[in-house]
Assembly symmetry: C2
Homo-oligomer: 199 residues x 2
């Protein structure tokens, strides 16, 4: 798949074929993509917790908050829950600076997941104390993001939204999840180009 299609197809997925297990090797391969991302001062403070264990997955699930705009939906039902998780942590003994590192690494993981047919959901709304307890994450590591993974059980569709319309994602009666994105024109604040005829 070309890279532009990969980016377009890398959509947040919130319902999975829970019984389709994800190989621990695939999850390690995804973390390896995160490992190779650039980071501030090349310090590489990110550390990862991996789970493909159904029992551990069940312990992780209650500590995550799903889809804030869907008030009547507390997250995927049993049977549609993630089959694997990657928890992205920062080792504060290496660097305690919040920055962009976890975003760079996570995006490699999200794209890599799409590339191998998985769906993924990056989750920042986490009961961090509870999750730390069930995973035994040491105190010197801060939990930044959780990436839920699994083979997708939903269809997600990108749309362009115009500036006067809502950017809230929505689900149609057929269960398709729609994601309205602002247009390129709306997000370009300023553009400086060589004036024609100057060169």
């Amino acid at each position: 798949m070309n890279f532009i299609d990969l980016v377009a197809q890398t959509r947040t997925c919130r319902r999975f074929r829970q019984s389709a297990s994800v190989s621990p090797l695939v999850v390690r391969g995804l973390v390896d993509l995160g490992r190779l991302a650039a980071c501030a001062g090349n310090l590489q403070p990110l550390k990862y917790v991996l789970s493909t264990s159904p029992a551990k997955n069940a312990a992780i699930f209650p500590h995550l908050r799903w889809a804030a705009y869907f008030r009547d939906w507390a997250g995927p039902e049993e049977g549609e829950r993630p089959a694997a998780y990657i928890v992205v942590c920062r080792d504060n003994t290496i660097s305690d600076t919040p920055g962009s590192d976890h975003g760079f690494a996570t995006q490699n993981i999200l794209l890599g997941a799409t590339d191998c047919g998985l769906g993924a959901c990056p989750i920042g709304s986490i009961d961090r104390d509870g999750l730390r307890r069930v995973l035994d994450v040491p105190e010197y590591c801060e939990i930044l993001l959780v990436i839920a993974l699994g083979y997708p059980a939903e269809t997600v569709q990108l749309e362009t939204v115009f500036s006067d319309r809502s950017i809230r994602y929505w689900r149609d009666p057929a269960g398709v999840h729609h994601v309205p994105k602002r247009s390129l024109e709306e997000i370009i604040l300023l553009e400086f180009t060589e004036p024609p005829g100057v060169a």
Copy 2:
């Protein structure tokens, strides 16, 4: 190029063929990849300033800090400076929460740059007040990152470093830039898999 190679080849580049101009269309295409990244609550607070103008590029350059580990190198010399810039900003009227959005979007842009033969350097060490002045960035937008772009004039080599060795990048006498990355084993904090024979 397959995605794993794309990730491996997406290395920070700090010396460019400055005279090889980058088309404004390519820069817009890269911003469009950032546009399609996932973001918290789909709010899409990121806004972008684009420059392919040599005059504006010259005004941007003094406000950036390069390669902290190279004390004798203040950044690329005239002739090896970026041919384009993307400044990633957050529109605080949409969201003022620091998070992962800019990291997700920037990684799409960095990978996309590699995919079309460009080199890129994400820079977080910025004289933000100075840059805001030369670009006329409005007060409601916060400058998060600068992505320097151009056709590469240096070779970068990934290496695996062992935990007792330095992670500082270095340049060899031939000018090759070496980037030591921690091993996968070192960054996996915990791993939970289904015990064999349980299923």
